[in-house]
Every structure is written in structure tokens, then in C-alpha cells.
Symmetry: C2
Subunit: 196 residues, 2 copies
């Protein structure tokens, strides 16, 4: 009678070898990324480094995009933690405007640092639902706190759009605009939107 106990939140439970491989793959991928740069990491290389077959990599992570997203998740989670419960001005405790500016600055730097990884984790152009919506929620919340009226969700998007990797790499990379100036311009944008 192979009956699984009818626990409410039935999630299939990963087999032990599967879990071991997942971890090995993440470690391998992380190492290769650090070593050779995102763009020259191949799926075969990751598989070999982890000592598993290529099929296993795709079974675990669906696609290259998925694997990179998993690697990215580490730092992204840390940042989200800092936003939710870290020290001010990014975390709670500071004035909403201060928090919003801190949000922008840290997000900007992060997107610039992890640009290649983010792009690799997000080839389709649509950032993973979770990642995007977390930031969106936060900005909406802060805008509300600031007493902004209007279409808050779309205003939030408008504020975050200039922080997208595509834009930042155009500015910092192609046009050689210093980061401080980009930050300052974003601050200005925020003030105009909030006060306007």
C-alpha cells in the first residue's frame, strides 16, 4: 500500500542524490562564474566540474537561464533581507524618502556589478516574477508612505526602469557616465516624481 500520508502541504521531497547533485552544481557553477566570467561558462563545463552528466544539469535547473538565476539568487536574497530587515537607511527605521534613495543606490550598484549574471539569468527580458515584484512592492509601499497620489504601481515601475541593467550598461559602459552622476540624476527624478 504505497500510500503517501495525506499531509496538506505535500511537496514531493527531493531524493537524496538529487539534492546532493543540486548543491554540487550550484557550487560548481558559482566557482566557474567567479573564475571565468559568466559568459564563458558552458553547461558542459558546469556538468563536468560537478562530476555529473549534462542531462542532470538540465533536469535540475531547466535551462542555462535557470541555473544562472539560481546562482544569482544567493546575493539577491541577501539584498532583499537587507531591505526588509537590515539597518537603516536601506532597512526599516529611516524616513521613507531616505529609504527610497538608499533603495535606488544599492539597486543601481548591484545591477551594475551583477549585470552580466542578471542578463544571463534573464535572457528572455522578463526578470523572474519574484525578483521584480519584490522590488516593485517595496517601492510602491514607500511611495504610498510618502503620500504620493496617482497610479502608484506604474509610477513605481517608472522609477525602477532607469535602474534596469540595459539602461545602466548603456550609460556607464557606452557613454562613460560616472556612477555618482547617475545616482544624482535618479535622486532628482525621485524628487520630481514625489513632489510633482
Amino acid at each position: 500500500m504505497p500510500l503517501d500520508l495525506p499531509l496538506a502541504d505535500e511537496q514531493p521531497v527531493e531524493r537524496s542524490d538529487a539534492a546532493r547533485n543540486r548543491e554540487a552544481l550550484l557550487v560548481a557553477a558559482q566557482r566557474l562564474v567567479d573564475q571565468c566570467g559568466v559568459d564563458s561558462v558552458t553547461m558542459d563545463a558546469v556538468a563536468q566540474e560537478a562530476g555529473v552528466g549534462k542531462g542532470t544539469v538540465f533536469r535540475r535547473f531547466e535551462s542555462r537561464e535557470g541555473l544562472m538565476a539560481a546562482v544569482l539568487d544567493r546575493s539577491e536574497t541577501a539584498w532583499q533581507g537587507a531591505v526588509i530587515g537590515g539597518p537603516p537607511p536601506l532597512g526599516p527605521g529611516a524616513e521613507p524618502m531616505e529609504r527610497l534613495l538608499a533603495f535606488g543606490h544599492t539597486r543601481l550598484r548591484l545591477n551594475l556589478t551583477h549585470g552580466a549574471l542578471i542578463r544571463a539569468a534573464d535572457r528572455s527580458g522578463a526578470r523572474s516574477f519574484a525578483a521584480v515584484s519584490f522590488a516593485a512592492m517595496h517601492v510602491r509601499y514607500l511611495l504610498t508612505q510618502l503620500g504620493v497620489t496617482g497610479d502608484i504601481p506604474l509610477l513605481a515601475t517608472a522609477l525602477m526602469a532607469p535602474l534596469e541593467v540595459v539602461i545602466l550598461e548603456q550609460q556607464a559602459g557606452r557613454e562613460h557616465i560616472p556612477v555618482e552622476r547617475i545616482e544624482a540624476a535618479w535622486d532628482d527624478l525621485v524628487r520630481r516624481v514625489v513632489n510633482g
Copy 2:
């Protein structure tokens, strides 16, 4: 004495067969794109459709990205013409604010319509210098006309960022936000930035 005449603007002049092939390839690519959608157009297919070898495609257009950019160029050029010399409110003759709003609306629709093509023409994330800078120049010009003060180039970027394909496809596609609402939100953003 194989001396080329020392004309000032010496550009090598394309050989006749090369020119013929370029045209054939563009036509073939255009047809295949219209027929099957950008994403399922392969370089081999384009080569075959145009009746040339694969190598020729890459010789002419460098890469898939380059070919798609060339295809895209047709409609893009038309739009640029309308901005520079078309009828108001998009073209000259209307008030700057009116022109700016018209700019945003047409750009928004265009980016939504040609989203797949634009993404294919621009895999790297950095839109071709020419395309981006034309729009940027125009917005900067209008902002100046409107008497906006501050970091005009970066304010212009901030206004155009929410019109990027990545953002629009997230909103219209994943979040099912109606285009009219996106337009309205952009108008609001513009007013805040201009008045703020």
C-alpha cells in the same frame, strides 16, 4: 597602375553581385519574419530562401543580430522621418509638450508591436547607438524647449526608460495592463518631471 581616384569620401563601393545578394537577403528575411515570426527564423532558412550560401548571409550582415537590425531599420527609419518632418503633433509645428507626449505614445506602440524584432536585433542589451541616440537627442531637445533645468541627458534617459521593450512586455504581457493605462502613466510621469 591600379590607382583609385583620390576622392575624398572613399567608400569601397559594393560589387554588383554583393548588392544583389544583400537585397535578396533583406527581402527573404522580411518575408520569413512576417510569415513565421522572428523567433523561428533561422539563418539557414534565410540563406536558402534568398538562394545563397549561409556564409554569404554572415558576410553581409555579420550576425543574426545584424540581419534583424537591418530588417528593423525600415520601419524605424520611417518613424524617425515622421518625428523630424512629419505632421504634428509628432512632427514639428506642435507645442513641445504635445510633441513629447506624441513621441512617447508612438514609441510605446512601436516598441510593443516590434518587441520581438527589437529584442532580436539587440540581443546584447545595448540598442544600436544610432537608434538610441536619435530618440535621446529628440527628447533632450524637447525638454530644453520646455525650459526644464537639471541634468537634461539623464532626465531624458529616465523618461525613455519606461518605454523600453523589457519594461513594456512585462507590463502589457505578464501583468496584462492595458496600453491606455501605460500611456496615461507615462504622461503623468512626463508632467511631474517637467513641472517638478
